[in-house]
């Protein structure tokens, strides 16, 4: 092996070391962010639950046999046992074990309610995201790849029209026509994905590598896999995380209005009933879920 090759190998291994170090750093940053979110989210949730209306009420309040001095002593004891730091520690410890308290309104454990509803929402947003990607990808392809003005105008018009309709109205239209609601989530997602996918395809279409491949006569299928999916993989993965979160945002009003028993409807129900344990529990669970998705997307693109 000559000196130049050895230098190249050393330089390459140096780059690889730096890259793996950066990946580790990124992993550590994402882990710290996740922990910070759990701690901060837990604190906000615990504070809201602790100071929610009715928290300071004790069962003895309704007992006419207890005199006011005893009642005051019981209230003081309750307040001491539930001071914010103590309550936060207990709430966080409970949350770590999967115990998010009991819903005031439904009188059931919050974690159990979330566990039951989560699959419904997950199904809705996963199908919605998948269909949204397909439709947005097709429209982006029509706008960029076909190079036909009429198709480009159609793609832009469809995307623009969908952007002008509130997701809840789409949901109602699908609900009353007995069509799958995941399609309403998909259509709400399309204009948000279309812009990014179109820009990505435009970049790929004008890249010299792709022009060379087309000139060499590479088949469209191979071009799509090697030059579009391959080159755009980092952005596509990042967009996938964003799409899931956007789909969840669209699913909330759709679930609430169309009577789908998912987490979105549960959250709205909790908000309308001012059920703080349920609201804070679902907020904490959703925040962790969203942070996890973003972290996973970032790590996948690293």
């Amino acid at each position: 092996m000559d000196a130049d090759s050895q230098t190249a190998i050393v330089a390459k291994s140096g780059i690889l070391n730096r890259e793996s170090e950066m990946s580790r750093m990124r992993l550590a940053t994402n882990l710290i962010t996740l922990i910070a979110v759990v701690l901060a989210g837990g604190f906000i949730a615990a504070t809201l639950v602790r100071y929610s209306p009715g928290f300071d009420t004790i069962p003895e309040d309704l007992d006419p046999r207890i005199n006011s001095a005893t009642l005051q002593a019981l209230h003081d004891q309750h307040a001491r046992a539930n001071s914010l730091p103590a309550f936060y520690a207990r709430y966080l410890a409970g949350a770590m074990r999967g115990d998010l308290g009991v819903s005031h309104n439904l009188n059931q454990p919050v974690a159990e309610l979330l566990r039951r509803r989560a699959p419904v929402t997950l199904r809705l947003i996963l199908w919605g995201t998948a269909a949204g990607w397909l439709i947005a990808g097709l429209l982006a392809w029509m706008a960029v790849w076909t190079r036909r003005v009429i198709l480009k105008a159609t793609a832009f018009s469809i995307s623009g029209l969908l952007l002008a309709i509130p997701p809840a109205v789409l949901g109602l239209a699908f609900f009353f026509n007995e069509a799958p609601l995941s399609l309403a989530v998909a259509l709400a997602l399309v204009p948000r994905l279309f812009g990014t996918l179109r820009a990505l395809l435009e970049d790929c279409y004008t890249s010299p590598a792709l022009l060379a491949a087309r000139a060499r006569g590479v088949t469209p299928g191979a071009i799509a896999i090697r030059y579009v999916l391959g080159a755009g993989a980092p952005q596509l993965i990042a967009l996938m995380g964003v799409a899931l979160v956007l789909a969840f945002g669209s699913a909330i009003p759709i679930e609430a209005l169309c009577g789908v028993p998912g987490v979105g409807a549960l959250t709205l129900q909790a908000a309308l009933a001012r059920d703080m344990p349920l609201l804070c529990g679902s907020a904490l669970a959703i925040t962790v879920f969203v942070t996890f998705i973003h972290a996973a997307g970032e790590l996948a693109t690293a």
């Binding site: 623009g160 997701p167 109205v169 009003p253 959703i286």
Partner: protein, 258 residues
């Protein structure tokens, strides 16, 4: 195309501004003898279940939705500017903490954030209070998106030669901000304002449908859209779709001028 869109928006804004002159009746006036009637010469779009003129309510709803969404967008922009100025010019730890918080706020679904904030405030409010709460919360909750753009712009500015020169010449920070920084940020702020406006109009519509927006009897596009939950009535009175059509028209015009 852009000129036509601007024309339509100006027309809608004028209708909203001069609502009392255009609307034949007050938005809350009930015609108890004619609830739920179809369009006729007296009521151009018919009446709702409570006998209120749909056309008048639509005109007044436009006033609320189209005039208050810019106000909410302005609140978001001002808040974002303030937070970005702190983020970009303070110590690294503050920068990291605020950037992390911004990223978290951006990543959470907007409507979810709003539902949580709305639940912390009284739900049974006076109609005027509900307007302030709805649009105020939108303004407060929507700061994260423009803040990220502003922070990047301010950071770029703080590293620029002209700002260093202004500092070296002993200019007061307030003067630097007003004379040097603001003209640079104005264009970015205008672009962000234009981006937030349709988002807020759409959000108000979604919140109104969920019953978390502007309270009755005040009309807004959101609570007028709630009638869409009764599709059987649409066939007998297609004017129920008028708020949706107007909302879509305004949204499309806003997209065109962006």
């Amino acid at each position: 195309m852009k000129k036509a869109a601007v024309g339509v928006l100006i027309l809608v804004a004028l209708c909203a501004l001069f609502a009392p002159l255009i609307a034949p009746y007050d938005y809350s006036r009930q015609f108890r003898e004619s609830p739920g009637v179809a369009a006729n010469s007296q009521f151009p779009m018919g009446t709702d279940d409570l006998g209120r003129d749909r056309f008048s309510r639509l005109i007044y709803a436009t006033r609320i939705s189209i005039l208050l969404a810019p106000a909410a967008a302005l609140v978001s922009i001002l808040l974002a500017l303030l937070i970005s100025a702190i983020t970009a010019t303070r110590a690294a730890w503050a920068d990291h903490a605020l950037s992390g918080f911004t990223a978290l706020c951006m990543s959470l679904p907007w409507i979810f954030l709003f539902i949580i904030l709305r639940a912390l405030l009284p739900l049974n409010t006076q109609p005027m209070e509900s307007i302030l709460i709805t649009f105020g919360l939108m303004g407060i909750a929507g700061w994260a998106w423009p803040a990220r753009i502003f922070t990047a712009s301010i950071r770029e500015m703080t590293n620029s030669g002209w700002l260093a020169q202004a500092r070296a010449s002993g200019m007061q920070p307030r003067r630097i901000a007003l004379i040097h920084a603001w003209p640079h940020l104005r264009a970015v702020a205008a672009a962000q304002f234009r981006a937030l406006l349709p988002a807020y109009i759409l959000s108000e519509a979604s919140l109104g449908l969920l019953g978390l927006g502007v309270a009755e009897p005040l009309p807004s596009w959101g609570n007028l859209l709630a009638e869409l939950q009764h599709p059987d009535r649409i066939q007998s009175n297609p004017w129920i779709l008028a708020p949706l059509a107007l909302l879509m028209l305004v949204m499309i015009c806003l997209e065109v001028i962006q």
